[in-house]
Amino acid sequence: MAFVQNFPFMSIIISLVSGPISSVLPGKIAKRVNICVITLLGILQSFVLAFVLKTGEPYVYRMGHFSAPWGNEIRVGVLEAAMALFFCIIMFLSMIAGEKERIRDVEDHRQNLYYVMVNLLLCSLIALVYTNDLFTAYVFVEINTISACGLIMSRQVGRTFEAATRYMVMSLLGSGMLLLGICYLYSITGHLLMSNIQEAVTALATSGSYHYPLLVAICLMSIGLAIKSALYPFHTWLPDAYGYSTVSSAAILSSLVSKGYIFLLVKIFYRVIGFDVMKDVRVLNVLFVFGVAGMIMGSIDAIMSDDVRRMIAFSSVAQIGYIYMGFGLGTTAGMVASIYHVVCHASTKSLLFVAASGLTDVSDGKRDFKSLSGSGYRNKLAGVTFAVGSLSMIGFPMFAGFISKLLFAEAAVQSPNKMLITLIALAVSTILNAVYFFRTVIRIYTPAVKAGVKESGFAKVKISDNPKKSIAMVIFIIINLLLGLSSEIVIDLIEKGLAMFA
């Protein structure tokens, strides 16, 4: 066994241990530990990715020395390693971009606790990506939920407490359903490891026995995870949670936490149920309908809101709708499009939150559109970054969002029953996206004098004032352009990874 094969397990343990250690360290040292851990994990994941690409086949890592079906396992393929690496990169950028705001928003004696939450979140994300055991996945889902709750309420105002409570309630409903689904599946298959369950499920599906329990288990798990990742009617907690928490929290929550659950759902589709069985289950149609509804309603809510952070949060609801619509198409092309959109949305949404915080900072902390007039001139880099993010979300060629919309449209053509609805929803949603993003971009480049806003109290920010944030924003832009311009590499990686799932 190559030494590199230990790295996924080491990553989980390193971030898990660094969490409790941070709780006794002073804030500044905890921050350094956290940055080191994220960087180290990123390096480890890239080694793992290189290793899996070189060997060209997935490998299974036994936890403890019991082999299947008794022991617990980690399974590493191309998609898992790539996703874990991507999560590390976005986490790193969000943490360095929001450093100043974090020091301002989080109370001094609680600084180190923030890093406890971030380390545990990273640990649970990586474990969710790599694990081959359903019950382990459930436990890490709950760790993910608790640490995300901590991140929401790190900025202590009434709204974040309320949002955290609503988030916990929704999440617990989702994880209750997930747990029950796992128990059903365990009771009819007798296994907890994903590969063993898949064998048993395939046997059950061909023989036709336990048809209804299997159906119920699949529905419970899909809908439970859909609720947890804030699919449209279950998104009530989201605007306040993303809108009022500190900016790193908002970036991490929107781009990573919900994506962890979505990736687990992809794993359940492919590794637990098997995609051939999954296609015949009509729960995908339910996800499709809610996804399409989310695409439209999320955008309408975004148009109605008069607060730039809440607007971006509602836009997240629409984008998660896109992802579930791709799942609902029930084809491999749809899945590829959805996973590409996971990557695209994660990188773009964190960019938008960071840029928006740069813009509100030069508008005296006000978030309504009138006060934002001319902020693109007061903080030039944030203005440009916000414009890039907006163009990407609308689906302008050259940026990541364009490719994902193209993939969705191509996937839609392949499934004739849902083609018309998908294409119409894509068109309408794109127009609505354009309405609210262009409105914001035009607003931030309207000189304040014209809009009748007094600029005297507002600070001007130079690029060198907050170098870490500036660097993070530039890297975000580069990632977005790379995803848009060299999308073949990413799509190729996703297709290879999905092929390895089977």
């Binding site: 009434g158 409570t165 617990l172 029950l180 128990c183 009771s187």
Partner: protein
């Protein structure tokens, strides 16, 4: 589908009814404490279901005494392990929910989530 099975497996049926009771309490109650009670009913019902799945009538707990090592002598111990893990998880989420409730009550002197939302909107922050 015959409903005789439902009576035959009445324990499982009861655990599912409890799950629905807990689920709807967690979703629909306005009072935060009642929500938390709902959460615990929901989780406990799943543990009841798991424990039932592991139990085989007439067999003993899987602790080796008198040197009997055959599989046929004992019940399935894995669901018990899952229940223990699940209890740890549900204790910790209950603790988080309770601490959030304490914070909200100290600030707004109310346990009704809708009232709290109204007060926050009035504050306008």
């Amino acid at each position: 589908m015959n409903f005789i099975n439902l009576f035959h497996n009445y324990e499982e049926a009861i655990s599912m009814i409890l799950f629905v009771i807990g689920f709807s309490n967690l979703l629909l109650q306005k009072n935060l404490i009642k929500k938390i009670i709902g959460l615990n009913i929901m989780d406990s019902s799943v543990y009841l279901f798991l424990a039932l799945k592991g139990y085989i009538e007439g067999l003993k707990a899987p602790i080796v005494v008198d040197g009997v090592r055959s599989v046929e002598a004992y019940i399935n111990p894995i669901p018990a392990g899952l229940v223990l893990t699940g209890i740890v998880v549900s204790v910790s989420v209950t603790a988080v929910m309770l601490s959030l409730t304490i914070r909200l009550y100290a600030r707004y002197h109310s346990l009704n989530l809708d009232e709290i939302s109204a007060m926050i909107n009035k504050e306008g922050k």
